[in-house]
């Protein structure tokens, strides 16, 4: 939160905005990468900034090699992709454990006393686990869809944009590439007013509503305790204003500077089903999981079974996707259980919806209005109950 009330951060936002207006005769992705690097070095320090460059350079090299091998031999390409994916998953798990267990950080220092600082700073850079997800999206887009690969400087602008460094959102790689073809982002009074309104609304959500709720419940420096369904409901509302507020600020800065930035929240507490809730809450993560895990897995399984057992494949893909979302947030048993429960609830909802679609009375307006009225209460109870499962491990 400190960064959002820091005058330095807002001064840097204005500087970035002005520098991006200059539009020198180079690609905008590269120019944004250069400007962004300066901001990252100032905000996060040289070790993290250099570690990000190290990661981007290694990735650039790795992907170039993979592309070259793929054009020569299909078998090698599969092997290289599998090794790459295993290394990425390994890094991600090690990194997750390193955040949760400080003993791991100590072990790294003892294991490699000379290079410990660099190993740790690399892990710290990757510990913005949004970086790991952006790496996965970019790698898939380049290797599977043939999208152009950004050079390491421009790549840092995609992997760690300064305004999305704290808590995402995840911009799809192909949308970041549209930066090069976007027209000049000339300021107008209407545009500036709209952007200021978005940013101040985000700050209002986070610093006034969420902060008041936190102070009221826990005191000035206390921590949340979730022991009942009521506590979980209160915490869910707090979390919405906190996370949606931050996402609005990031979205507003993206709009101001003309950098593709997803909106991330679409009034999730008004959703009538849990499935709908997860397309509105943290929507950029939903989009990532859908395009990188759910759809490819479903298509691969359907091809293997030659289109049979569609229902079972859909349910299986849904549950695996949600288990991934759970483990991405935290490595632990209760969150794994939460992922399974959410996946199952969505699978049940899908089954009921498919069955109801065949019934003519289910399309009646009165029934649909009833669902819209009762749905949000049902969603609120289910999501709050989920909070109750994970609260002890996460808070």
């Amino acid at each position: 939160m400190e960064i959002l009330i820091s005058p330095t951060f807002w001064a840097l936002v204005v500087v970035v905005y002005l520098l991006l207006q200059l539009r020198p005769p180079i690609r905008t992705t590269l120019w944004f990468g250069l400007v962004n690097s300066g901001v990252l070095f100032l905000l996060l320090g040289a070790p993290v900034g250099l570690a990000l460059y190290g990661i981007a350079a290694s990735l650039w090299l790795g992907i170039r090699v993979a592309v070259r091998i793929r054009t020569r031999s299909g078998k090698w390409a599969t092997a290289v992709t599998a090794i790459g994916a295993t290394v990425l998953i390994g890094l991600f798990v090690v990194n997750k454990l390193s955040i949760q267990d400080t003993a791991f950080a100590e072990a790294v220092r003892q294991w490699a006393p000379g290079s410990g600082v660099w190993v740790l700073s690399s892990l710290l850079a990757l510990s913005f686990s949004y970086v790991a997800l952006r790496i996965a999206d970019m790698t898939r887009m380049v290797l599977a869809e043939g999208a152009p690969l950004l050079n390491p400087i421009a790549m840092v602008g995609y992997l760690a944009p300064f305004h999305m460094v704290i808590s995402g959102p995840i911009c799809p790689y192909k949308e970041h590439l549209t930066l090069d073809s976007r027209p000049a982002n000339w300021p107008t009074f209407s545009r500036l007013l709209r952007v200021t309104s978005i940013i101040t609304t985000g700050l209002f959500y986070k610093l006034v509503i969420a902060e008041s709720m936190r102070i009221y419940a826990t005191g000035l420096h206390g921590a949340f305790v979730v022991e009942s369904l009521l506590d979980a409901g209160y915490f869910l509302i707090y979390l919405y204003f906190d996370f949606a507020g931050y996402s609005k600020v990031a979205w507003g800065i993206g709009q101001m500077c003309g950098i593709p930035t997803p909106k991330n929240f679409y009034t999730p507490l008004c959703a009538a089903t849990v499935t709908d809730f997860w397309t509105r809450w943290h929507a950029s993560l939903g989009t990532f999981v859908r395009s990188n895990l759910f759809t490819p897995m479903q298509l691969a399984l359907l091809r293997r079974t030659r289109g049979q057992r569609q229902g079972a494949i859909g349910l299986c893909s849904l549950i695996v996707s949600f288990v991934f979302v759970a483990l991405w947030h935290h490595v632990g048993l209760s969150i794994l259980l939460w992922g399974l429960v959410m996946g199952l609830v969505m699978a049940v909802e899908k089954t009921i919806r498919d069955a109801l679609l065949r019934r003519p009375w289910a399309r009646h307006k009165a029934v649909q209005w009833g669902c819209r009225l009762v749905g949000p209460a049902y969603v609120f109870i289910v999501i709050s109950s989920g909070m109750l499962i994970i609260a002890k491990e996460m808070l």
């Binding site: 949308e175 982002n185 107008t188 309104s197 101040t200 009221y216 993206g254 679409y266 989009t287």
Partner: protein
């Protein structure tokens, strides 16, 4: 997919009319005042005391 494009572009929105602009500006001022007020210890202690 719920949204065809994950990112939205405000530049395609039409210009604000003068009264909408004035309303939005007033709201921005109110929000900024409240955000700055939250930095005061008196306000946070008032909230902690239960309004």
């Amino acid at each position: 997919m719920r949204h065809a494009l994950a990112t939205e572009d405000l530049s395609i929105k039409p210009r604000l009319s003068w009264w909408r602009g004035a309303l939005l500006f007033a709201l921005v001022v109110v929000k900024l005042t409240l955000i700055l007020a939250m930095r005061s210890r008196n306000v946070t202690e008032f909230i902690y005391a239960g309004f």
